[in-house]
Amino acid sequence: MNWLRRGSSGGTPSEPLWKEEFSVRTADERYVTRRQLTKFLVLTSLGMFVGNIWILIRSLFYKVPVYPQQPVAQLGEIPVGGVKLFSYPTKDDHCIMIRTGKDEYVSYSQKCTHLSCAVYYSQAENRLECPCHKGFFSIKDGAVLQGPPSRPLPRIVLEARGEQLVAIEVKG
């Protein structure tokens, strides 16, 4: 292939690469710099392609996680408008549970989807707020109301079993 050949321009084909890259002709310099920039751009393009392949491989080998069923609170343990913090599914995944009504509870991951700051519940505004960059999330479904986060908060699915609230799954 011509474009892989060394010493492809001018002179003899066996001319070393350095003579081509550092030509004595001033006019040739424009070609060398442009060709090198083109090579750099194509290598960057290859990097983008490799990145997409990496995402594809991660997608193909993605395993649906199995979540544990974990009691997180007693029914009536927190007052209406009250908050309880807990960890689910691992002790490093901090979550926030809010009692929004007499028999209504919602729970979300406490990690902001922007830069992972801990969100807190603002009772006055009835929303979840991230103090770092003023990202606001809806209390109803965790959707982004304002600010830099582009994805909603992952929701923790709760189930009432007897007198206990049990976390069964993370959605989103």
Binding site: M1, N2, W3, S8, S9, G10, G11, R25, A27, D28, R30, Y31, R34, R35, L37, T38, K39, L41, V42, T44, S45, L46, M48, F49, G51, N52, I53, I55, L56, R58, S59, L60, Y62, S150, R151, G172
Partner: protein, 85 residues
């Protein structure tokens, strides 16, 4: 009145190379956008967009590679003709 054929081969070669570089730059910008969109989609749990994104990115990379081959060929032809004078 001078036409494009009257221009010296060095200038014609440079014009072709700059044109190819511009196309590569546009393709690269699209590829960067595609990668960020695919990553965002993957992180939000949608795993169906990874395959088309990878295919389009591969096609664009091949086009870039073809354009680089063109640049290299024009480069060697023009500089070869200059040196042969």
């Amino acid at each position: 009145m001078p036409t494009s054929n009257d221009r010296p081969p060095q200038n014609r070669g440079l014009t072709a190379i700059v044109g190819a570089m511009s196309l590569i730059t546009v393709l690269l910008i699209v590829q960067i956008w595609l990668l960020s969109a695919a990553l965002e989609s993957f992180l939000s749990g949608n795993r169906h967009s990874a395959l088309p994104a990878a295919i389009f990115s591969g096609v664009m990379f091949l086009i870039c590679l073809g354009l680089y081959a063109f640049v290299d060929r024009v480069d060697s032809e023009v500089r070869g003709s200059e040196n042969g004078r």
